[in-house]
Every structure is written in structure tokens, then in C-alpha cells.
């Protein structure tokens, strides 16, 4: 596998000291099957990182591992210099990482407001009531449609509104790092644009974001940096716009024939 452009994975060590999230030589397993094979990655504070790759490349597995859903892994994951090994999802949320999962995973029979408030569950336990109210207001300003629907059951919202609610719910935990798994899945193009605009807005407010997307072009357009994952391995890393201009990426993920791309490589 040749790395044609951008910094190679091993050259990025200079930045690692400032990393918020640093992953080194990660291997994840589903039973005996290795889904991720020696992945390294770093995310610095305030960055928006896009992680792209084909179906089954291991993108969602990576996010699920960071968020504590998958426990069967080797390697090192450091968040703000602390290891995440052994932490379950609630412990990960407590550390400041929130995942907006694939398929949104809302609580459909509950109201929009209850869904949002439950996002702040751990902060309620810490009695941060005033701060939670302020953040709720911010989330409702970010997604005004949720304010109109706050008494409505989450299950009755449209796909785009549900995605907004899922992001809003994750933000209610006041994360330092926001992980998003395919937020554009199943949405009309104008909604994809809207969701991505919100991510840019969040980034401008200082949020650190790791975005997994199949819609590679849209993701790379807004990302500071991008990683390309293929068959459980990280094959490319670079600035968002450099990756967009890369011939291999163009062929594989931005519209040309993927098979031709693979064959060309082998």
C-alpha cells in the first residue's frame, strides 16, 4: 500500500503531543475476526476530522471502540492523555466524549425535550441544572425546529429532524469531543448540507469533531484533515482539500469506479 500524499501516518508524531485523542496501533475484534488492524490516528483540539472509507472498512467499528461499546481491542487510545481502556460508554461520556450513533438511536416514544434532557443525564447527577438549561437553550437555537417540536414524540419527527435531535442530545452532555457516525445517512441533499453546516458552526465555536461519513466529498469539504480507512487499515491521511484533490481518493470515493481503484492498487 503506498501513501501517495499528505503526511504519512508515522510522520504525524510531531503533532501528537497536542492531541486531544490519540490512537496507536489499534486492533479491534468481533469474536475472532479482526475488524481493525493496526490503526493510528490523532485529533487535536478544535479540529474537524473526517474519516472516510467504503462499507465495512471499519469506520463505525472505530467509533464504537472509542465510545466504549466494543471492548475487545488491543493498542492504545488516549483521550487528553488518559487511557480509555476498560471504560464502558457511561464512563466515556463522563470523560467528555459523545457519540451520535448510526441510525440515531433516539427514544421514539419520549418527547423531544425528554430526549434532549436525558442527554444531560450525568450532568443532572452532578447538579449542573443552571448550566444544563443554558445549554438546552443553545441547542434549541442551533436547531430551531426542535423548539417547535419539543412536546412531540421523537418517533414522529422527520429523518432530518431526528438527526438534529440526535446531535442535540449528544451536545447536551457537553462533550469535548463529538463523534458522529454517518449523520447524513438517508437524508435529502439539502438536509445533508444543513447538518454539515451545523458541524462547521460547532467547530467554529471550538468543538472538536470526528466525523465518519460515506459522503466523502461533503465530509472532506468541511474537514481540517481526513483519514481514509480501507479493510481495517488506515491508508491515507491529509488535509481535507488535499485529499479531495487526490486522484486515488477521487477514483475510490468521489464517484469513479471503486473496483478499478482496488485493482489498480493490487
Amino acid at each position: 500500500m503506498t501513501v501517495s500524499m499528505g503526511k504519512t501516518l508515522h510522520e504525524s508524531n510531531t503533532c501528537e503531543r497536542a492531541s486531544m485523542l490519540r490512537i496507536r496501533n489499534l486492533k479491534c475484534y468481533y469474536g475472532r475476526i479482526r475488524a481493525i488492524n493496526g490503526v493510528s490516528l490523532s485529533v487535536r483540539p478544535g479540529e474537524l476530522i473526517a474519516l472516510i472509507g467504503a462499507n465495512g472498512a471499519g469506520k463505525s467499528t472505530l467509533l464504537q471502540t472509542i465510545s466504549g461499546l466494543l471492548q475487545n481491542w488491543e493498542g492504545e487510545i488516549l483521550f487528553q492523555k488518559e487511557p480509555l481502556k476498560g471504560l464502558r460508554p457511561p464512563g466515556i461520556v463522563e470523560r467528555g466524549i459523545s457519540l451520535v450513533p448510526e441510525g440515531r438511536m433516539l427514544f421514539p416514544p419520549m418527547t423531544v425535550l425528554d430526549n434532549l434532557k436525558l442527554g444531560a443525564y450525568r450532568r443532572y447527577r452532578r447538579r449542573e441544572h443552571t448550566a444544563i438549561e443554558e445549554d438546552l437553550e443553545e441547542v434549541l437555537q442551533l436547531f430551531p425546529v426542535l423548539r417547535e417540536r419539543e412536546k412531540q414524540q421523537a418517533g414522529t419527527l422527520s429523518g432530518g429532524e431526528q438527526q438534529m435531535l440526535a446531535i442535540g442530545r449528544a451536545l447536551m452532555a457537553k462533550p469535548r469531543l463529538l463523534l458522529l457516525d454517518e449523520p447524513s445517512m438517508g437524508l435529502a441533499p439539502f438536509l445533508v448540507r444543513l447538518i454539515l453546516d451545523v458541524l462547521v458552526q460547532l467547530k467554529e465555536q471550538g468543538m472538536t469533531i470526528l466525523l465518519v461519513e460515506q459522503n466523502a466529498r461533503a465530509a472532506l469539504q468541511i474537514a481540517d484533515r481526513g483519514y481514509v480507512l480501507e479493510n481495517g487499515k488506515m491508508v491515507l491521511e491529509g488535509n481535507g482539500c488535499d485529499l479531495l484533490a487526490d486522484q486515488d481518493v477521487k477514483r475510490a470515493y468521489l464517484g469513479k469506479d471503486y473496483r478499478e481503484f482496488c485493482e489498480g492498487r493490487s
Binding site: L69, P89, P90, P101, F107, P108, L118, Y121, R169, A173
Partner: protein
């Protein structure tokens, strides 16, 4: 005839209220953990025996004995989750169900050693004379039972709708993975569900103690009746549990009165078979039923 029917109705509603509270225990645990606890009947027995011991034996005030029995049974539920359920490495539903059956046998055995094989009784909660309504007699104890069950159901609804913990439990019931991703500790919610559900069984036992003879082996039948009620109303639905309990109680009383008293227990199981055949998800149930 009207007078007789009214009499059966009073008796049915009284028993139905008790079945409802036992069914609530089943349903509450099922919705949070997808587990059916066959030791639920033993929690009812422990509630009844606890009340008799504390109230009649130790002469504690009724309110205190009621509270301590319920809390004690909730504690037993809590212990059961920590010692028997959580320790299972691969919690396949069938394994867990078998564990609850084992726990039921264990609790029954302990109760037999503690209280012996004799039946015990408790006096009515208050000494008011029975009321007469349209020629039928309504025991004051029945009013107590209905009143307490209504209070319990309302308190439970308030807990689910108003409190953060209640909402978190609901969230766990809807989607455990999603709940854990927003920081809700699902193990704690399971523990709480066990304690609350055992507490419900305990309340059922406390309520039933003054209207029946209580002994170490009373749990099995009451547990099964509660299970029938929960299935009838729709497992996982609180209002379904209340509806199922009432329906079962009333149908049972009518069956006994209008046909034969030997039919009493058969009615519950005929109903259960009927529901499983016609509408496996119960009257108000929406969830798909899994075969395993």
C-alpha cells in the same frame, strides 16, 4: 341476581388489584431487562410473611411493618440481581429464566425453615364494619387494597413521567445501547428495576396477607396469576398490567360464583392459553414476542 353479581364484582376487583400489583412487578422488570422473573411469586410470599411477623409477631405499627416488609423484599430483589443475575457470564434469556426458577426454590426453602409449614394469618388493616352497597357486602379491607394499589400505580406513573431516574429507566427499556451512549448506567437501572419489581411483589404480599392464609408455598400460584395478568394486559405495559389484573380477578370471581369454585385457578390458565394463542402480545402490548 344483581346483588350476587355485585358481590362477585367486589371480590373480583379486590383480588384483581392484588394481581395487578404483582403483574406490575413482572412488567416493570421485563420492560427494563427483558427478563421474566419466576421468583416474583416468592417476593409476594415474603411480603406477606414479613408483614405477619413484624405486625403480629413484633407488634410494630402497621405502617412501619408495611414499609419494612416492602423494603425488605426490595432488598431481597436487589441481592438476587447482584448475586445471581449479574454474575452470569453469558446472560442468555433461558439461562436467566432458569436462574429465577432456582431463586424461587431457594427462597421457598428458606421461608419453610424460617416460618415452618403452618399457615399464618393477619388481621384486617382496620376494624371498620363492612359496608353494604346495593345489598352486597364490601369489606373495608377491600377498600384499603384498592386504595393502596391505585396509590402505587399513580406513584409509579409519576416516577416514570416526572423523575430523571424514571425517565432513564424508560430510556433503558426502549434502547439499552442508546441509553448507555448518553451516560445512563444500565447496570444500575437493572438493579433498580429488580428492587422496584421485588418491592411491588412485597406490596402484593402485604395486601393479600389479611384476606388469605399465608404460608411458605403461597408464592407459586400468586406469581403465576400475576404473570397471567401481565401477559393478558401486555407484558411491558404498566396500564396493561392493571387492566390484566382487574380482568383476571373479575373473571375468576364470576367463574367461581356463576359456575363452580373448582374452576377458580383453571380460569387464569385457560385465559393465559387463550391469550398466547390469539394475541401473544396481550391486550395493550405492542412489542414483538421473541421465541427463544
Amino acid at each position: 341476581m344483581v346483588q350476587e353479581i355485585l358481590q362477585y364484582l367486589f371480590s373480583g376487583v379486590t383480588n384483581g388489584a392484588i394481581y395487578a400489583v404483582i403483574a406490575l412487578g413482572f412488567t416493570m422488570l421485563f420492560s427494563t431487562t427483558s427478563l421474566i422473573n419466576f421468583a416474583q411469586g416468592e417476593f409476594v410470599m415474603l411480603g406477606a410473611m414479613g408483614l405477619i411477623t413484624l405486625w403480629k409477631g413484633f407488634q410494630l405499627p402497621l405502617g412501619v411493618a408495611f414499609l419494612l416488609s416492602t423494603l425488605g423484599v426490595a432488598g431481597v430483589g436487589l441481592l438476587m440481581e447482584r448475586l445471581a443475575i449479574r454474575t452470569v457470564r453469558k446472560p442468555h434469556p433461558i439461562v436467566l429464566v432458569i436462574i429465577t426458577i432456582g431463586a424461587s426454590i431457594l427462597l421457598k426453602g428458606i421461608a419453610m425453615i424460617a416460618w415452618g409449614k403452618d399457615a399464618h394469618s393477619a388481621p384486617a388493616f382496620s376494624r371498620h364494619p363492612p359496608l353494604e352497597v346495593a345489598g352486597a357486602t364490601l369489606l373495608f379491607q377491600s377498600l384499603w387494597i384498592i386504595l393502596i394499589v391505585v396509590a402505587v400505580v399513580l406513584a409509579l406513573q409519576a416516577f416514570y413521567r416526572k423523575s430523571l431516574t424514571g425517565k432513564a429507566m424508560q430510556a433503558c427499556a426502549i434502547n439499552r445501547k442508546a441509553a448507555s451512549l448518553i451516560g445512563i448506567p444500565s447496570e444500575k437501572m437493572t438493579l433498580l428495576a429488580f428492587a422496584l419489581s421485588a418491592g411491588m411483589g412485597g406490596i402484593g404480599g402485604v395486601l393479600v396477607a389479611p384476606i388469605t392464609m399465608s404460608s411458605y408455598d403461597m408464592g407459586m400460584l400468586l406469581g403465576l396469576k400475576g404473570f397471567c395478568a401481565a401477559m393478558l394486559g401486555g407484558l411491558g405495559n404498566s396500564w396493561g398490567a392493571v387492566l390484566g389484573g382487574m380482568l383476571l380477578g373479575i373473571l375468576e370471581a364470576m367463574g367461581v360464583g356463576l359456575f363452580s369454585s373448582s374452576l377458580k385457578d383453571a380460569i387464569a390458565f385457560l385465559l393465559l392459553l387463550g391469550i398466547l394463542y390469539v394475541r401473544p402480545s396481550g391486550i395493550l402490548g405492542e412489542k414483538a414476542i421473541h421465541r427463544f
